[in-house]
Amino acid sequence: MKSRWHRSVLAQAGGLILVTASTLTVYAGSNVQAASKPCAGVTLNVITQPPPYIAGPVLRVEKAWDAKTGGKINLITVPYSELYSKIMTSFITGTNSYDVILFGSDWLGDFYPYLRPLNSYVHHDPGLKWQNILYTKNAYWGKTLYAMPLDGDNMAAYYQRSLFANKTFQSEFQKEFHYPLAAPTTWNQYLNIAKFFDGKVVNGHKIYGDLGAYQRGGQAFWFYMAIAASYSTLKGPNGAPEPGLFFNPTNMDPLINDPGHLAALKIYLQLLKYGPPGMINFNSEDVRSTFATGVAAEAYDWADTGIVADLSKGTKVKGNTQTIPLPGTHRVWDYRTNKWVSFTTPSQPTWLAFGGWKGAIPKTSLHPACAYNFLSYLGSPKQSLISVTSPATGFNPYRVHQFTDLKAWYKAGYVKSDLVPYLKVLKHNITDPFQIHDLAIPGEAAYVDALELNTSEAAAGQETPAQALNRTAAAWNQITNKLGRAKQLKLYDEELKTFGMSW
């Protein structure tokens, strides 16, 4: 009886030990899993524009990030034209709708009060290789880092190499313009090339002179500003540009209607004559897709034209696309002295149009650590290289190794003769101290729209160039006054200091 009792006690004790041991094992296992899957059970709401551009890379990394961290991504996409207002609405109503926002740098001036600083996250994230990023200025507001760079937006010019190498064209051009046909270094030369090639017959097909965007809401602002940047911006003593492109930094008066901007608008409008019929309604996507069809001698655009030229299906300019820096000018308007300043060598600033897509974490996010983890993964050296070398991602190179690891580019389908100048120009653009940053103060969207409205009216012949710019200046003043001139001036000053501009 006693031995049976003992056996029973022993059996119960053994069972208890087994249960405890297995419980502890499961618990320890779950701890190990929790440590290795830090975002298990977390779903991040990520908002950006619809795929393929920008949302495409998110969809690509989604599964891998889930496997790594246990977190889920709920991708919310809205058309680009509504993205700003959608994000801003969630900010001003204080809802915690999004954990991660992927947005254009230009909106940082509006967004930064609602964003979580990332300085400490980045500081404790050696895997991100922050020092490897070439382009970080516009991720800051003041000294606070608010955004993760994911893209290296800037503009360049492109031409068909075979046309420039054609002996007949070379001699005809020399005869007509009294200088050799070569890559343009000024906007006047760019215009002459457009004029020269427009209507020429190549391989039995008529070609057009040039391509650019003129549509309101179709990025026309950045195309016009690509020209205006060189006519209105002087290099400061520290090599950085002076703020001649947008506003007078002492009183927020618009500089948009000075003679420099007017000269640029005249070039912009003349170029319209040498483009394909209907170019007045072109947006930036029309520019790159049309260039890939081989019907235009030259174009200027973001880095996407280079990608589409080599990777798009049915491209006719693969292996024939030369990328060059944006042309410049021999004379630049000085808004302080109200005089032209002449240069023997053209002044050629680089134009960091739009400033690239960024990722940020709203203050209201309930999962900031996981949100950062996701951004860090998306912008990691490995993933970002895949993004910038893939077609239709909207991400352009911005890290050191993306310019040196040519194998990744060749693997994606690029041709060496196109790739080498392409990467050289893009790297020059984002490392050149004479780089002009885009407008990023509150109301940026309204300033952009006011200019696009008037330049498109000038393009349609409904306003003269001078009228268009005077009306833009009046509209800009109205926007500034509505938002508060003193407040705008303070923010503009902060922006210029953040970008290291001199005046």
């Binding site: 700003y84 309101r216 209907g278």
Partner: protein, 307 residues
Amino acid sequence: MTAAERKAPVVAVRRRTRVQPGTGFLAPTVGVLFVLTIFPFLFSVVLSFSNVSVTNGLSIQFGSLANWTQLIHDHEFWVSLSNTVVFVVVAVLFEYIIGLLLAILLVQRDLRGTRFFRTVFLIPMTLASVAIAFTWRMLYNPAYGAIDAFLRAIGINGPVWLGNTHLALLSIAAVDVWEWTPFMFLLLLAGLQGIPAETLEAARVDGATWWKSVRYIIIPLVWPVSVAGILLRMIAAFQVFGRIYVMTGGGPGITTQSATLYAFYTGVTEFNLGYGSTLALALMVVVIVAAMLLLAVTRRSVARGQI
């Protein structure tokens, strides 16, 4: 009068005003309607009479006429509105005329293939509007579009349909006609089928020409249906947005910009909520006035026996 007599009418009144059983079941519908329709509308009215700022949080200061004053002096609004009116008139007029002619043609039972054509004519209406806009944008493309390619093939140098300031709006209206004529056709066909065959037969026996039959018999008899069709299409055409946004973005300049597109640019792109709401409300007033005018003209014509 006894106390009971004095109380009697009160009881009767109470019975009459008593809430009907089941009224409470309407509450969810009314609630949804309030949240999704009535509240946003009232909020838009408030915004249009306010100074709205969205920098550093939403701030609404009610009691300002600034937005409405701006509207009166806003050249862009008047151009957008006149573009919209031209679009509505051209599109609805042609949709009605072509729809009526097709309905008259296909109402004849002795005509072969009427069923096939009735089905074919409905296809454009079943397609997605944005897909239609993209397709027509390609068709109109002067470099590789099918329309200009066809014109070139027969020796005509086609115009730049969407890039010409005089042609762009009409080109977009033509797409609307292509898409929505079937709707008008469908309504008018149903109306025509309701006309007794004897009436038309009698007119024919009396020597009425085709045009006289249409003018004095068909149009008056289908007019109630016509008014409904025109009214529905007019209201929808006043709201034209996606088609223009996709095809021209409102350009060249603002020659194709509709009032809704202008409200979109102002309210959504620029995030100027106060003025955007004002533009939307102004368009609503215009649509209501236009609808009332149409109905008033119709009523007067009916009263005078013109229809």
